[in-house]
């Protein structure tokens, strides 16, 4: 081994030689990598299937054999105990109790619950999606791109006419993708606008709050509120968390469009059409103007910042879920928000010549059935999900935990509940969820009902829930003055339609 005459000197040549050797070695290693097999065979919907007649379902009869075991993944969303009253109960108390009750009523099913905390939820479900195996029943509405890859099982065969009549038709529509039903509408967590009445009463603008039963907040009223409340230096009426919150896309941007009657997609969801409607540019321009007038919290605030402003009465209005009431209580306990602090829930702003819409039809509160080859498990999972959706006693649980029931049986069961004395809750249940028309599916950027479009959109990642997502970042560009509304709409249309291969 004396070929290298001086072992201790690194010459360039030795270095490069060794490096080349190393690269060749690793490349040969690359050939040795086996392709990992995929396990579950999946049926992928290749074309839009016309909705067919649903046959009368054969309810699973309790069999003599051992109970069917199903896996159920749930995130902890219940704050109160199993009596629906004790606060700060262990997070698994109610869910375990409910499973006991379900198993008692359905002795042929055994439920293996996995309660996954929120901090793990995202990663665990993403990993499951990425590897293609889901539990039998999964908390969360089915997303079009995942339906497409065949991660879920359709449940049409189990849905009876009775179920259809019981469920909210809007939520049922939200769970129907490509002509088949994938989502069981279990509860409702709609999104809407939240106004700080206390702030407006203190600093001005309270006169323009909607006072009728419908509580429809028009764009024109919102402008008057903003004018009266904002002072341009420390008080800003509108909190739009453009800094990091992708929900601002939906709470603010998408609903600004829908509120002006702009549709994102054409009827077949084959083409992006928002740019052809001049009101889309108007919607974007409205935000630019709002910023210029000092109506919006400047400097691209993050979600945290908007909350801070809202709790300290320096911001009066923001898009939110009904859960904002819970957040308020937390903030008050932490000394960030004062008392009294009265929040009023109302619709997303809409043009006064149009009718308001209820938002969040696709939002949380649906259960989906994971793909499985075992028909018994599929049926059992459906029964479990439907139990949460329709069992009368569960209705109260949704209400006390900050959500709302959506099936008629459950809504009836909660009539007269003391919590419904809260005018906000009463409004959501009686008016928002029942009397408002739901947001049109064509108006929602993500709620695409076309197989091919979903496939392509999920590849180009133009619209997604992420601080580094294209749409949120482009919205930031708009507010930073780096692009104009016309340009933004044009670019969006070009990107999407070119990828789809249709006329821009």
């Amino acid at each position: 081994m004396s070929v290298n005459h001086s072992k201790n000197v690194i010459t360039r040549r030795n270095m490069l030689k060794a490096f080349a050797f190393g690269s060749v070695g690793t490349l040969t290693a690359a050939c040795a990598v086996p392709a990992p097999p995929s396990e579950v065979t999946r049926e992928v919907p290749r074309e839009v299937i016309v909705e067919k007649e649903v046959e009368v379902v054969v309810t699973a009869t309790p069999s003599a054999g051992p109970p069917v075991e199903i896996d159920y993944w749930q995130a902890p969303i219940w704050r109160l105990g199993k009596d629906n009253q004790t606060p700060n109960a262990p997070i698994d108390e109610w869910i375990n109790y409910s499973i006991e009750q379900f198993e008692a009523a359905n002795p042929d099913i055994k439920v293996r619950l996995e309660l996954i905390p929120w901090d793990t939820w995202g990663a665990k479900t993403s990993t499951a999606f990425a590897s293609g195996t889901l539990p039998n029943l999964l908390y969360g509405a089915p997303q079009p791109d995942r339906v497409l890859v065949g991660l879920y099982d359709p449940i049409d065969e189990f849905v009876t006419e009775e179920d259809k009549a019981n469920w909210s038709s809007a939520r049922l529509a939200a769970g129907t993708l490509f002509g088949r039903i994938y989502g069981i509408p279990t509860f409702s967590n709609p999104n809407m606008y939240a106004i700080s009445k206390t702030a407006l009463e203190q600093y001005g603008g309270a006169d323009f709050i909607p006072t009728d039963d419908m509580r429809g907040l028009t764009i024109q009223s919102l402008e008057k509120i903003a004018e009266a409340f904002s002072d341009g230096t420390s008080r800003y009426a509108l909190g739009v968390p453009v800094g990091d919150s992708p929900t601002s896309i939906y709470f603010d941007l998408a609903h600004a469009m829908i509120g002006r009657g702009v549709m994102m997609w054409d009827e077949g969801f084959e083409r992006f059409i928002a740019h052809e409607n001049p009101r889309s540019v108007e919607a974007l321009q409205w935000f630019v103007n709002a910023q210029k007038n000092g109506w919006m919290i400047p400097n691209l605030p993050k979600g945290n910042d908007v909350s801070t402003f809202f709790w300290s009465q320096n911001c009066a209005a923001r898009g939110q879920w009904p859960g904002i009431q819970t957040e308020l209580e937390t903030a008050q306990a932490a000394g960030q928000a004062g008392t009294p602090f009265e929040i009023m829930l109302c619709s997303h702003p809409y043009d006064e010549n149009l009718t308001p819409h209820a938002a969040g039809v696709d939002g949380g509160g649906a259960f989906s059935v994971g793909k499985t080859n075992d028909a018994n498990k599929r049926s059992a999972a459906y029964r479990l999900g439907n139990w949460y959706a329709t069992e009368a006693s569960v209705g109260e649980t949704w209400l006390v935990n900050g959500f709302f029931p959506t099936s008629k049986t459950q809504m009836k069961a909660v009539e007269g509940h003391p919590l419904l004395e809260d005018p906000n809750k009463r409004w959501v249940l009686d008016t928002y969820l029942t009397k408002y028309k739901p947001e049109p599916l064509q108006g929602h950027p993500m709620f695409v009902q076309n197989v091919r479009t979903v496939q392509i959109m999920s590849e180009i990642k133009v619209i997604d829930y992420s601080p580094s997502g294209y749409l949120l970042r482009t919205f930031q560009n708009l507010l930073l003055g780096q692009t104009t509304p016309e340009q933004m709409m044009q670019e969006l249309a070009t990107t999407i339609n070119t990828a789809l291969g249709v006329k821009v």
Binding site: N4, N14, A18, P246, A334
Partner: protein, 304 residues
């Protein structure tokens, strides 16, 4: 100061200045020295200020943190941020996890690195130089290229969210540890080994009883730096830990910041309280082993 001026014909003023600037090693102009100190002090302040700010804000009540302009010193210091933080997140568990991971990886790096370094330095075996240079050449492979496949493998092994995923990849300390150890071992006299071999000691015995004890300074240096690097390691643990009970300190803190639902995010005071708790152990280690930091990393980087 030595009067080496005999060979110099210096002007009178210069000699005057020499005596004024008496205790400086080289004859500087006093204003320049003042300027030098000024620059040093300013930069030191800039360097240390963020740490002070972090500690100070962690002691401020939530309301004061929402004021503008902020106070430079806490007016009503309180430990409520720490209390709330400890209630909300399992920071003790995070610290324990980080401790376990850092310690095991440090021990691994020391042991396996010393072994390999010794072998490359003192043992003769065919292919030694080739293998060494192959390993060295991989130093320029950026970690990003291995992160993604490593993640996929870990998921497939089912190691996601376990200590195995945190500790095993790169447990041997990698080429860097081996290199450091090798440099050090080369400076040890080979006669010791010859003598031991003649006396009939086993190779492993030579390694553990003779070499390792002699390597204490290098082990100390490697140990400290490896420990700190692992304590502060971020990207890999971020990817492979998903549950709160398995997270490491840095990752847990980063997740406190942000989150789209405002209820999930912690306030400034709490996040900085957590950061302070994360920083203190490292600062303590630094102060205790100060001389190793100020001298230690020179081993291996420069000749001599």
């Amino acid at each position: 100061m030595p009067k080496t001026t005999s060979r110099l014909r210096t002007p009178f003023i210069h000699q005057l200045r020499m005596s004024i600037g008496g205790f400086f090693k080289w004859k500087s102009l006093a204003p320049v020295t003042i300027l030098a100190y000024a620059i040093l002090v300013i930069w030191a302040l800039l360097s240390l200020f963020p740490l002070y700010w972090m500690a100070k804000n962690s002691l401020e009540p939530a309301m004061s943190l929402n004021q503008f302009p902020p106070n430079l010193v806490p007016i009503n210091p309180t430990i409520e941020n720490f209390m709330i933080l400890i209630e909300r997140v399992p920071i003790g568990r995070w610290t324990l996890n980080t401790l376990i991971v850092s310690t095991s990886r440090t021990v691994g790096a020391i042991f396996f690195g010393a072994m390999a370094g010794y072998a490359f330095a003192k043992l003769n075996f065919a292919g030694r130089e080739i293998i060494f240079w192959i390993l060295m050449s991989t130093l320029m492979i950026p970690s990003f290229i291995t992160i993604i496949p490593q993640y996929q493998v870990i998921v497939r092994l089912g190691w996601l969210d376990t200590f195995a995923a945190l500790i095993v990849p790169g447990l041997t300390g990698g080429v860097w540890s081996m290199f450091l150890m090798r440099q050090f071992v080369k400076t040890l006299p080979s006669e010791l080994l010859e003598a031991a071999r003649i006396d009939g000691a086993t190779e492993f015995g030579i390694f553990s009883k003779i070499i390792l004890p002699l390597m204490k300074p290098a082990i100390a240096v490697l140990g400290i730096f490896t420990f700190i690097a692992n304590w502060n390691n971020f990207l890999w643990p971020l990817l492979v830990t998903t549950s709160n009970s398995m997270r490491l300190l840095a990752i847990g803190l980063s997740l406190l910041e942000g989150g789209t639902a405002s209820a999930q995010a912690a306030s400034q005071g709490q996040v900085l309280a957590g950061s302070t708790l994360a920083a203190i152990p490292m600062i303590i280690i630094f102060l205790i082993f100060q001389r190793y930091f100020l001298r230690g990393i020179t081993i291996g980087a420069i000749k001599g």
